[in-house]
Symmetry: C2
Subunit: 218 residues, 2 copies
DNA sequence: CCAATCTGTCACCGATCGGTGATTAGCAAG
DNA sequence: CTTGCTAATCACCGATCGGTGACAGATTGG
């Protein structure tokens, strides 16, 4: 990538062109990977057929042929997404004994917070969900929330929320807070005046979150 | 240049063209209004020079002349935004006596929730904030958070948060939850499995929110 | 061997984008 | 009326977008 004479145009053709092998499965995977990578790194703003084709190093025609266009490609991403929770979030209690519903929710909150912070693709998708209402996004959103709900159900086991508390609504609030705070931190390192840069900042955020959980569930 | 026999052109002009008056101030206002309207109704996705010019019914050149381009126009929106809080959110206690910090935060939460639900422009801007990191958005974000912080400070009066609680972090969580839940409801009528459609749904959400506030601040 | 099929590439379309120079049209002072 | 200023429009540019039809090269079955 560093020719001695930095002329504007390269006069000779690239000698070794990395001859593209004829392999449909590999190409499909390359397209899917490029799409996920692009979405994670660049966001949904400039996410389009041309960009994905460029990223995958192939012609956009193949995206139409193999995935039926962007819609099909996004749907394929959504299918992959189903395994996100099981991949990125531990499915056990981490050796802890979750005796109360409060224990459970505190742990779920921390796991979800860390997992979301660590996954740029998922962050972009969440941001997409609250920014657009297309069919594409609805599919993604559905796949994500279904996987998430399944995970919570699995972790919950036989623990029941305390009487007199609308656990569904409260939990929605808690997860909403986590999602928004992680999204905000990813673009501006802060949220509502709260710095979210280094580990200590996140310690404070996590503490506040646990405080909230414990305040409701004891 | 302008032959009388313009065969391809439309033969009859639009009968009443609403003859445009030469009035710079009015045009500037029309542009600003169109920009705010477009952003509120269509979102930031298709927000651009051409769209605003179309919406304002003038040539895009005028946007460059009067606002120095989209950036300046967005900045003008941000300036307007400063008065959002004072316009849309009551600045008094609504006749209540806020005796404790918990009273205060409960009331602030409700006010902010209702105000955000009622303001599509502000919702779009919040969604924009968590989706993009351009200079434009940073300006908007700053103006918004500054106005919000000022409002909170004004309402707070001399009430101090209880010792042992990181009020800044906890409040950031609460406001994050409100923002995310309102954004989600605006595009999909739900959030994390919690329906957010009719008034009863919102009652439940508000109750959960108050529960959280009271759980932390008593 | 030929022919059909599959993978991949290329060229091109119309539409829209952001942006800019040149031009027209209304108004007021001289 | 003429002159000058300015609001407003028009015409055009290159770039990029999503989308499609035609074509080239490899693979495979007969």
């Amino acid at each position: 990538m560093a020719p001695a004479n930095a002329a504007v145009k390269i006069p000779v053709e690239m000698p070794v062109v990395e001859k593209r092998v004829r392999n449909r499965a590999a190409t499909e995977q390359a397209i899917l990977d490029a799409a996920k990578r692009l979405l994670a790194e660049e966001g949904f703003q400039n996410f389009g057929i041309n960009a994905v084709a460029r990223g995958a190093g192939c012609d956009k025609q193949l995206i139409y042929r193999y995935y039926g266009g962007l819609d099909g490609l996004v749907e394929a991403i959504g299918t992959d997404l189903g395994s996100w929770v099981t991949d990125r979030i531990p499915d056990d209690t981490g050796g802890m004994f979750l005796l109360t519903y409060g224990d459970l929710m505190e742990r779920l909150s921390m796991l979800f917070l860390d997992a979301l912070r660590a996954d740029p693709l998922m962050r972009r998708i969440v941001a997409w969900e609250v920014s657009e209402n297309s069919e594409q996004v609805r599919r993604l959103s559905e796949a994500r929330s279904k996987a998430l709900a399944g995970w919570i159900e699995r972790m919950r086991g036989s623990l029941a929320p305390p009487k007199g508390v609308d656990a569904q609504a409260v939990n929605a609030m808690i997860f909403a807070a986590i999602q928004h705070i992680v999204l905000a931190s990813a673009v501006s390192d802060q949220c509502s005046g709260l710095a979210l840069k280094n580990g200590r900042d996140w310690e404070k955020a996590a503490t506040a979150l646990k405080r909230i959980v414990r305040g409701v569930y004891g």
